[in-house]
């Protein structure tokens, strides 16, 4: 579903991504792990379309999307989730998701009230139910907890009917209970979707990933199934050992 070849990005003298090759098959959950400051964020930003690569190509479902900006990729079904600035704080949970539904529908309107538009509200409610926020639909996002924001983000990402979902550290900042709930949500999610999971939380990674790629200093040093990665000497030295 996703094919990355030779992705390279430098900032001045610093080579943040050095000719990365990366594949995601349809239906799989492919995790990307690696120490911070080793080019992971740069890699993700280029995948998502927030950053232009210096060299290399990204093909999504057979189409070259290397130079497509983020919102265009979202329209094609390749959505990034969990950036630092998360939700629309001035809107309720329901309207947050309704906005995502609206964006995906591509239909505009200058006169009819959007807040009572059933074509937007019904799907939004369903999505909220799916992620477990059904009861919190009318709560302003500003009043929700961090964990709920993350659930909301999953709902919003799902609203765009993505074919490939890029989850950027979904566990970050979550307590133990919230993490469990998120892992369960993602476990339900992975059955129907193709996911790229970028995470530090090894518990989540090993429970959810079908394959893992390890990114260290701009290079992929290993790719394989979780057990192989766990056993890999180089990976343990470079990364897992330090954890």
């Amino acid at each position: 579903m996703l094919e990355v070849r030779g992705l390279t990005k430098s900032f001045g003298a610093l080579r943040a991504c050095d000719g990365i090759d990366f594949d995601v098959a349809e239906g799989e959950t492919h995790a990307v792990i690696g120490p911070n400051g080793a080019g992971k964020t740069t890699f993700i930003s280029q995948l998502a379309g927030n950053l232009r690569p210096d060299a290399g190509a990204i093909r999504f479902a057979g189409e070259d999307v290397t130079h497509l900006p983020a919102h265009a990729r979202a329209r094609k079904g390749f959505a990034r989730s969990f950036q630092i600035t998360s939700v629309f704080h001035d809107f309720t949970a329901l309207h947050n998701v309704a906005l995502a539904v609206q964006a995906h529908s591509g239909r505009a309107g200058f006169w009819r009230p959007a807040r009572s538009d059933r074509a937007l509200i019904e799907p939004a409610r369903r999505l909220l139910e799916e992620v477990g926020l059904g009861a919190r639909a009318d709560v302003p996002a500003a009043n929700m907890s961090h964990g709920e924001h993350r659930q909301l983000e999953v709902a919003m990402a799902l609203a765009t009917k993505p074919r490939l979902l890029l989850l950027d550290e979904p566990m970050a900042g979550m307590g133990a209970e919230e993490s469990q709930r998120m892992i369960e949500l993602l476990a339900r999610l992975k059955q129907a979707k193709t996911l790229i999971l970028v995470e530090h939380d090894m518990d989540a990674v090993f429970r959810l990933a079908d394959r893992i790629s390890v990114l260290v200093y701009g290079r992929v040093i290993a790719t394989g199934e979780p057990e192989d990665i766990r056993a890999n000497e180089e990976v343990r030295k470079a990364y897992l050992g330090e954890e």
Binding site: H71, A74, V87, H95, L99, Q102, H104, F110, R112, T160
Partner: protein, 309 residues
Amino acid sequence: MSARLVLWSLVVLVLLALPPFVLYIDQPFYLDLVRRIMILAIAATSLNLILGYGGLVSFGHAAYLSVGAYAVGILGFYGFTSGWLHLAVAVAAAALVAAAIGAVSIRTSGIYFIMITLAFAQMLFYLGISIEEFGGDDGMRIKVTSQFPLVDLANPVVFYYVALVLMLASVYAVFRIVNSRFGMALRAAKSNEARARAIGFSPYPVRLAAFVIAGAMCGLAGALYANHTRYITPDLGSWQQSGDLMFMVILGGMASTAGPVLGTFALLFVEEILKGWTQHWQVFLGPLLVLSVIFFRRGLAGIFSKPDA
């Protein structure tokens, strides 16, 4: 919701009843004053669309007042007095200018956007001053008001009601627009631009469209203003006027339907009171505005009701 409807109904009733009352107590000045306030409230409402709901700090909005007003003036100068023509040209010209300025400015953001909209408006101001045929610095007189069938704008009371109807229509129009899908996209982009992009909205076209609509509406206000004052000067598009418009929006409470109307009434009434005391009223208004910004964040509408989410 209904509390707000009640309040609006009261306001409308008061405004409807004003002319007969004013004529009864023989103070036609107030008719003029309130009419002027309502016309400027249209301009403030248009600014609220892009500033309050869109988060675009456009410091050159008065330029569209000027464009609208001069459209009427210039057409009249050449003998075209049809009111429909005046309105059409005023709105179209303002929309065009807004499209041109917006196309360049909206690609920037933050402080750049503020300075750039200010600079472009000033450019138009200088342009206006330098064209001698239409009065240049001194401005031009409007000899004949826009001619409409049935409605005579030269009649102060008739014009008052026209202004009232148009003001209510603009407020309603903005209300519908900001609650539509388009409005939601605009507000989403204001609330969290990165997020809006991530879900697939492209802020630029939405903002540009809002900018043009706001400009067009302000052009309409300008056309009315020309008919009201019968004498227009380039000062109508000055940045002092733009600043005034911004205060009308802020004082009333941004991102609320009633805000711009309340703010316009508040600001202009305060101005009138101060003008009554001294010719140097700005030396008091200035600090009042400073204090209002420092201490009075939510604006007047915040007192009566919660702003729209």
